[in-house]
Amino acid sequence: MNVFDSWALSLAVLVPVIGMVVLAALPKAQEKAQKTVALATTLITAAVGFGILSRFDYGAGRKLQFEVDHSWIDVINSRYHVGIDGISLPLLVLSMFITVLCVIYSWDHFPEPHNPKAFLMLMLVLEVGMNGTFIAQDLILFFVFFELVLLPMYFMIGVWGGANRQYASIKFFLYTLFGSALMILSFLALFFRAGNTFDIPTLILNAGDAIPHNVQLWIFGGLFMGFAIKVPMFPFHTWLPDAHTEAPTVGSVILAAVLLKLGTYGFIRIALPILPDAAISWAPYIGGLAVVGIIYGALGCLAQKDMKRLIAFSSVAHMGFVMLGIATLTDFGINAAIFGMVAHGLITGMLFFVAGSIQERYQTRELARLGGLLVQAPKLGWILGFCAMASLGLPGLAGFWGEFPAILSAYQPAEGLSEGVFRTYMVIAAVGTVLAAGYLLWMFQRTAFGTPKEEFAKAHVHDVHPLEWVAWAPMLALIFVLGVYPRLIFGITDESVRTVSSAFRAIGG
C-alpha cells in the first residue's frame, strides 16, 4: 500500500483543518491573502480527491479502499476507521468539488456583514464535516462529522442570512439536533446489542443476526428519524425552506448540494445494510412518505412567491425521488438514488447560484416583480432555463437519471415488499414529474420570459460575470455529461450497491 493510499482520506479531512488554522492566524485586514489561502486549501483537497479518483480500483467497488483503521477511543471501542467504496466516492468528490466552486463564487460576493475570514473558515469547517461523514466507517466518527456540519451552517445562516435569519438558523439547528439525538440513541443500541462495536463493516456482518426483529424495528426508527430529518422527508421538511430562504447563496448551495445528501447517504451506508430486516418492514412507509413528499413538495412549489423558497421546496420533491429509489431496496433504485443525490446536488446547487445572482442584480427574489431576464441578461436566463430543464428530469441531463430509474425500480421492488403498493407509488411519482415541469417552467416563465417590469426596465443588469462562469461552467458541463453518459456514476456505484441490495434478495428468497 503506498503512502498516498494510506493518507489520502485523512488528508481529505486534514487539509481543510490546516487551511482553517492558517486562515485563523491571518490578520483580519488581509482579505486577499485569506481568499487565496481558502482557495488553495480547497484546491489541494480537490487535488486529493482527483488522486483518489485516479487510484480508485473501479473493478473492486465492493470492498473498502484507501482504508485506515487506528485505535481512537478505546474505552468505548470506537476506532478511527475510514475508507470509501463506490457509494461514498461520488459524494466525496462532489463535496470537494462544490466547496471549491463555492469559494470561487464568493470571491467578491461576500454577503453582509462581509467578514470573509470568518465566512471562509466556516466553509472549511463545513468541508471537514462533509468529507469526514462520507469516509467514516465508525459510527462515532460518523456521528462526530455528521454533527460537525451543523455549527458552521448555523452561523452561516444566523450571521450572513436574510431578514428572518435567526428564526431560520435556530430552527435548522434544533430540528436536526433533535433527529441526531434519536440517531445516537440507535447507535448506542447497536453498540450494546451487537457486540460492543461501532465499526460499520463489522456491524453489517453481525447486527442483522444478533438483534431480534422487534428491537431492530425500534433501532431503525431512531436512525430513520435522524436521517429523514436531514434529508428532509415529508413531514420533517419544514426547516428546509426557511433555512434555504434565509441562508446566503453559498450556504444554500452547500446545504442543497451536500448537506441534504448526508441523510440519504446515512440510509444507504448505515440503516439499510446493518438492519436489512427492519428495512424491509420500514420500506413501504418510507416509500409512502417519499411519494407524498414528491407531490407535496411540488404543490408547495406552486404556491410560492419567492424564487429561492420555490427551489427549496423543489428539494423536498427531488429528495422524495431519491428516497423512493432507496425504499425499493433494489439495485436500480439505490443506484438511482445515488445518481439522484449527485444530480440534485449539481442542479439544485446551480439553481441556488442563479437565484443568488438574480437577487444580487435585482435586490429581490419575488417572482411577481421579476421578468424579462432573458432580455436583460440572456446568458443568465438561459442558464436558469437549462437548470430548470435539468431539474424537471429532461432526458439527456443529469436529473433524469435520478428520477426515471427510481420510478422504474418501483415497479418491481425487492422481494418481501408489496408490488401493488410500490406500483401505486410509481404512478404517483410519475405524476410528480409533470408537476415538476409545471412549477419549474412556471418559475422560468415568470422570471425569464416577457419583458422586464417597469421598476427594472431601465436598470443596468450585468450578464454573467467571468467569476460566475468559472464557478458555474464545471457544474453545467457535469450536468450535461452525466446526463448523456450516466455510466460515469453508475459504473462506480453499481458494484457497491450490489453488496447493499444483495442483503435483501437473501432475505426475501
Partner: protein, 728 residues
C-alpha cells in the same frame, strides 16, 4: 452507411452545439452550419435508403400463430452478446463493412429454428424481409442489467430518416428567407438543429429508453421554438401549454416503459419486447396496462382527442417550426411509437380481432372533431393545424384497425403535403404579414403564382385526389378498415375525407380567390421560399405512387419483423374502395366550391346545382357553417356543432386543463397555507411555544425575594415530610 446511421443524428447535435457557441460570430449568423448539417444528414439518409432498398431480403419470419418463439430467446440473446461487443469495438476503431453485423436475437433464433425444422415447415409461405441493422454499445450497467445504446435500422427507421431530413432541409432553406430579420435568428437555427436531432434519435432508437430521449428532446425544442418570441405572454403560454400537455401524456410513457422493461425480462429492447408480447410471454393484464399507458403518451404527443388542444395554440411559434412540428417531427412521434411498439398494441388491444378498440376509437373521434373545427377558423395556420390533428387521427386509426403499412404510408405522404401547405401558408403570410384569411388575404393567386400552384397541389393531395400522394395512403387506410372488420371506421374515414376536401377548398378560396382584402402590395416570395415549395409539391404529387398497386415498393421496404409476427394482413387494391374514397373527396371539393361560387356569382346557381347534388343536405349544412365568414344564413347543423365542439374544446377540455392547473395551484396554496404552515409547521412551533408559555407561568413564581423562596422551600419540605409520614 446503414451501420453508421448514428452519424446522422450526431451531425445535427454537433450542428446545434456549433451554432450555439459560434453561430453569432459567423457572417450568416449560423444558418450556414445548420444548412450544411441538415444537407449532410439528408444525403446520408438518402444513402441509407438506397442501401436499404438494395439489401437482400433474407430473413424469414412466420406469424406467431405458426411457431412459438418464446423459448429460444434467452439463449439467442446470450449468444448475441459477444458479437455485439465485437461490433462496438470495431465501430470505435473504424473498421469498415467487416464490422457490420445485423440480425436481432430472435431473428437469428428463428433462422436456426427454421434450419432445424426445415423439412417440416418448408411449405410455409413466409415472405422474406430485410434484416434490420443493429449496432449497439453498452450505455451503462445497473446490477445485472445492461442497458445498450445504439441504432436499430429497419425499413420504418429508414423511411422516417428520409422524411425527417428532407422536410427539415426544406424548412431550413425556407427559414433562411422567412426568418431573415428575426430577433434571435441564430438561436432559431440552433433549436431547429436540435429538434431534428431529437426526432432522428428517436427514429433510430432500438430501445425504449433511447426513444424516450429523442421524445423528450423534441418536447424541449418545441417548448423553445413555440415560445420563440417569448416577449409576448401568449407565446410563452402556448409553449408552456404544449410542454405540459405532452408531458402529461408522458406520465404514460414513463409508466409504460417501466412496465414493459420488467415484463420483457429487464430489457428496454423494442424488438425483444415486441416478440415477447406477440409470443404471449407477457400476461394480458400487464400488457394491457402497458399499452394503455403508452397510448396516453401517444394521445399527448400526437395531439389526439382529448389532449389535442395544445397543437392549435402551438401556432404561436414561427411558421417554419409549425411546418416541422406538423409534418415530420414531434406530432408524428406518437404515431411512430405505436408503429414501433406494434407488437405490444396488437396483443394488448387485440387489433386483429376487428370491431372496435381504443386506438381506432380515439383516432376516429379525432378525425371527425378536428375536421369540424377546421371549418370555423379564420387563421390559415389554424385550419392547417386542425387538419393535422385530423390527419394524425387517420394515422392512429389506421394503426388501430390493423392497417400498419397504411398508417406509416400516410405518415410518409402526409409529411410532404402538410409540410408544403404550412410553408405555403408561411409564404403567403410573408407577403401580407398576417395569418388572417378573412381580413388580410384573398385573390393571392394573381400576386403569388408559384405559391398558389404549389398550395393547390398540396390541397389536392391532402384531399385525396387521384393520383396525388394523399389518395393512395388514404385509400389504403380505408381499405384496411373495411377488410379487417372495422366497418365503422371505414365510414368515419369516408366522412373525414369529405370534410378534409371541403375545408381545404374553403381555405384555398379564402386565401387565393376572390378580392384582395388586405393592405399593401403582396408579391411572390424569393427563391429560398419557393424552391422548397416546388420540391415538396413534386413529392406530394408522386410519393403516393410508391405504394400504388403493381408497384407496392413501400410496403416491401418497410416490412418489419414485429408486423409479420403479428400477422398483419395485406389487402389487394380494391377499385370500389378507391372510387368511394375519391368520390367523397371530390364531393367535398365540389360542395365547398359550389358554396363559394354561389356566394360570388348569380343567385340561382346554388338552387340549380343544389337539387342535382346527391349531398344536398350536406351542402346546406356547410352553408350554415360558414355564416361566420359570410353574412348569410344561420341554422345549419355543422356550424353549431363545430362551434359547440370548439366551445367544448375551449371551455370544457381546455378548462379542465386550466382547472387542473388552477386546482393544483389552489391545492398548493391550501397545502402550503393550511397544512404546511399551520399544521405541520404549527406543530413544530407549538412545541417551542409550549415551552415558552410554561416558562412565563413559572416566571411569576420567581419574585427574587429570598424569603419567598425560603417559604417554598419549607413548604415543600413540610409536604414531603408529611407524605413520608403518611405513606410509609
Amino acid at each position: 452507411m446503414l451501420a453508421y446511421a448514428w452519424v446522422i443524428p450526431a451531425v445535427m447535435v454537433l450542428s446545434f452545439a456549433l451554432i450555439l457557441f459560434f453561430g453569432k460570430r459567423l457572417p450568416r449568423k449560423g444558418h450556414e452550419i445548420g444548412l450544411a448539417a441538415i444537407a449532410i444528414a439528408f444525403v446520408l439518409s438518402s444513402i441509407c435508403a438506397v442501401e436499404w432498398v438494395g439489401r437482400p431480403a433474407d430473413l424469414t419470419v412466420e406469424p406467431a400463430a405458426a411457431a412459438g418463439h418464446g423459448e429460444p430467446q434467452g439463449s439467442g440473446e446470450e449468444h448475441h452478446e459477444p458479437e455485439e461487443e465485437a461490433g462496438h469495438g470495431a465501430e470505435e476503431s473504424g473498421q469498415g463493412e467487416a464490422a457490420e453485423h445485423d440480425a436481432t436475437p430472435a431473428a437469428s433464433a428463428a433462422e436456426e429454428e427454421g434450419g432445424g425444422h426445415g423439412g417440416e415447415e418448408g411449405g410455409h409461405e413466409a415472405e422474406p424481409i430485410r434484416k434490420p441493422v443493429v449496432r449497439e454499445g453498452t450505455w451503462f450497467e445497473n446490477g445485472p442489467v445492461r442497458i445498450n445504446a445504439g441504432i436499430h435500422m429497419d425499413g420504418l427507421a429508414v423511411v422516417m430518416l428520409f422524411v425527417v431530413t428532407l422536410i427539415s432541409l426544406a424548412v431550413h432553406v425556407f427559414s433562411t428567407s422567412y426568418m431573415h430579420d428575426d430577433r434571435r435568428y441564430t438561436h432559431f437555427f440552433a433549436a431547429l438543429s436540435l429538434f431534428t436531432a431529437g426526432m432522428l434519435i428517436m427514429v433510430t432508437a432500438g430501445n425504449t429508453l433511447q426513444l424516450l430521449f429523442g421524445w423528450e428532446m423534441m418536447g424541449l425544442c418545441s417548448f423553445m421554438l413555440i415560445g420563440h418570441w417569448w416577449e409576448e405572454k401568449n407565446n410563452s403560454d402556448a409553449a408552456l401549454k404544449a410542454f405540459f400537455t405532452t408531458r402529461t401524456g408522458d406520465i404514460g410513457l414513463l409508466v409504460g416503459i417501466s412496465i414493459l422493461f420488467f415484463a420483457a425480462g429487464t430489457t428496454f429492447d423494442i424488438a425483444t419486447t415486441n416478440r415477447a408480447a406477440l409470443a404471449g410471454d407477457i400476461s394480458h393484464t400487464v400488457l394491457l396496462a402497458a399499452a394503455a399507458a403508452l397510448f396516453c403518451a401517444v394521445i399527448g404527443k400526437s395531439a389526439q382527442f382529448p389532449l389535442h388542444t395544445w397543437l392549435p395554440d402551438a401556432m404561436a411559434g414561427p411558421t417554419p417550426v409549425s411546418a416541422l412540428i406538423h409534418a415530420a417531427t414531434m406530432v408524428v412521434a406518437g404515431v411512430y411509437l405505436v408503429a414501433r411498439m406494434y407488437g405490444v398494441f396488437w396483443s394488448a388491444f387485440d387489433i386483429g380481432g376487428g370491431g372496435i378498440n381504443p386506438i381506432a376509437l380515439i383516432g376516429g373521434i379525432t378525425v371527425i372533431i378536428a375536421a369540424l373545427l377546421a371549418f370555423v377558423q379564420s387563421d390559415i395556420k389554424k385550419v392547417l393545424a386542425y387538419s393535422t390533428v385530423s390527419q394524425l387521427g387517420y394515422m392512429v386509426m389506421a394503426l388501430g384497425v390493423g392497417a400498419w403499412t397504411a398508417g406509416i404510408f400516410h405518415l410518409f405522404t402526409h409529411a410532404f403535403f402538410k409540410g408544403l401547405l404550412f410553408l405555403g401558408a408561411g409564404s403567403v403570410s410573408h407577403a401580407v404579414h398576417s395569418f388572417d384569411m378573412k381580413k388580410d388575404m384573398g385573390g393571392m393567386r394573381k400576386a403569388m403564382p408559384t405559391t398558389y400552384k404549389t398550395f393547390m397541389v398540396g390541397t389536392l393531395a391532402l384531399a385525396g385526389i387521384f393520383p396525388l400522394a394523399g389518395f393512395w395512403s388514404k385509400d389504403e387506410i380505408l381499405l384496411g378498415a373495411g377488410e379487417n372488420g372495422y366497418e365503422l371506421f371505414l365510414v368515419v374515414g369516408l366522412v373525414g375525407a369529405f370534410m378534409t376536401a371541403a375545408y381545404m377548398t374553403r381555405c384555398v378560396y379564402l386565401t387565393f380567390f376572390g378580392e384582395y382584402r388586405g393592405h399593401g402590395h403582396p408579391h411572390e416570395s424569393p427563391p429560398a421560399i419557393t424552391v422548397p415549395l416546388i420540391v415538396l409539391a413534386v413529392l406530394s404529387a408522386v410519393a403516393g405512387l410508391l405504394n400504388a398497386p403493381g408497384i407496392e415498393l413501400f410496403s416491401e421496404w418497410t416490412e418489419n419483423e414485429a408486423v409479420l409476427l403479428a400477422g398483419v394482413a395485406h389487402h389487394e387494391f380494391s377499385i370500389s374502395t378507391a372510387v368511394m374514397g375519391m368520390a367523397f373527396g371530390l364531393a367535398g371539393i365540389t360542395a365547398s366550391y359550389l358554396y363559394y361560387w354561389r356566394n360570388l356569382g348569380p343567385h340561382r346557381l346554388t338552387e340549380r346545382n343544389g337539387a342535382a347534388l346527391a349531398g344536398y343536405r350536406l351542402l346546406e349544412n356547410k352553408y350554415y357553417l360558414d355564416r361566420l365568414y359570410t353574412d348569410g344564413i344561420v341554422g345549419s347543423i355543422k356550424g353549431p356543432i363545430a362551434r359547440g365542439a370548439y366551445i367544448v374544446n375551449q371551455r370544457v377540455i381546455d378548462a379542465v386543463v386550466n382547472a387542473a392547473g388552477i386546482g393544483a395551484r389552489k391545492a398548493g396554496n391550501f397545502t402550503y397555507d393550511v397544512l404546511d404552515q399551520k399544521g405541520v409547521d404549527g406543530l413544530v412551533n407549538g412545541v417551542g411555544l409550549t415551552a415558552e408559555e410554561g416558562g412565563s407561568v413559572l416566571r411569576v413564581l420567581q419574585t427574587g425575594r429570598v424569603q419567598q423562596y425560603a417559604a417554598f422551600l419549607f413548604g415543600a419540605v413540610a409536604l414531603l415530610g408529611g407524605a413520608l409520614v403518611l405513606f410509609t
